[in-house]
Amino acid sequence: MYISRRTVQALATLATRTTAFKTRSVYATCRIPCQRRQHWSSNTSRASFCTSPITAIFRRPCGSPSFAILCVASQSYTTSILSTQVSAVLANHWAFLDRSIDTIGVQNIKPDNIMTDFQDGRSPVVKLTDLEDSVHLPPPYSMMGRRDGNSRWRSPESHCQGLVNTPSNVFSFGATVRNIFSQNYSAPYLF
């Protein structure tokens, strides 16, 4: 897939914008307990928006604040829409990382833990979930001797049970971004 220089610049500029949410309120803990596409239609009251080609986004019923981003395998959509919309989502995630870099959990960044409320013409609110078992690690401290998270998004220092800190999150974020922009959508990222 061709990613233009303009898209990369958009990623960088959008990252500097601020979105209106508090740091503490982003810790949504509920997740939609389904794995396959056919379950989603029966489980959700309405598929609120399907605007993005790569990401079909569903909302939980009863005004629950959790959203899920489901990555759908398809090659038929234009890459320009895809790259701008996904980069908008990622850029807000990036802004979130920037804000709460010292309060973030360790080894929690992967595609199915990034929830977003994506609508036309608005900048989406991006939230991180699955922080129940994460650790609060201020900068001078690190974690050692554990192998947390899924092997696909795990950083090398976590693999060899070394010192784990916020750079491990950056590695997981890099793997996430690379997988979203890669061409092989053989499986949705529900791991």
């Binding site: 897939m1 061709y2 990613i3 233009s4 220089r5 898209t7 990369v8 990623l11 960088a12 990252a15 990036w94 990382l97 920037d98 870099i101 192998r147 092997s151 696909r152 998004w153 795990r154 950083s155 090398p156 220092e157 693999h159 060899c160 049970q161 070394g162 010192l163 800190n165 916020t166 750079p167 491990s168 950056v170 590695f171 974020f173 890099g174 793997a175 971004v177 690379r178 997988n179 922009f181 890669s182 061409q183 092989n184 053989s186 499986a187």
Partner: protein, 98 residues
């Protein structure tokens, strides 16, 4: 998928998972300059302390390996990804720098 495991690997087989995934990470992202501080940050009782030191002298130039792993993405974008996924945690980009 960058770190997709083969289908026959089960989740209980942790040593094999670590070997496969960490092997790919070293293959695509590591340099001697990043392997050495990584080995030094581990305690001597950790088996990877010795493994990384053995790898330092045997590893090939990085450009050749990254061409294989990241050939489908744009060069500008690849540069960002590679800096995000630097092998040594201290050299990785932070959110503010990016």
């Amino acid at each position: 998928m960058l770190f997709q495991l083969p289908a026959e690997v089960t989740t209980n087989d942790e040593e094999r998972i670590v070997g496969l995934t960490l092997g790919r990470t070293v293959n695509w992202l590591a340099t001697p300059g990043s392997l050495r501080p990584m080995a030094n940050s581990l305690p001597p009782t950790n088996p990877w302390h010795e493994n990384f030191k053995i790898m330092i002298d045997r590893i090939e130039p990085l450009d050749v390996r990254q061409e294989v792993a990241f050939k489908s993405v744009d060069p500008v974008f690849r540069d960002l990804i590679v800096r995000l996924m630097d092998f040594h945690p201290g050299k990785r980009l932070t959110a503010k720098e990016a």
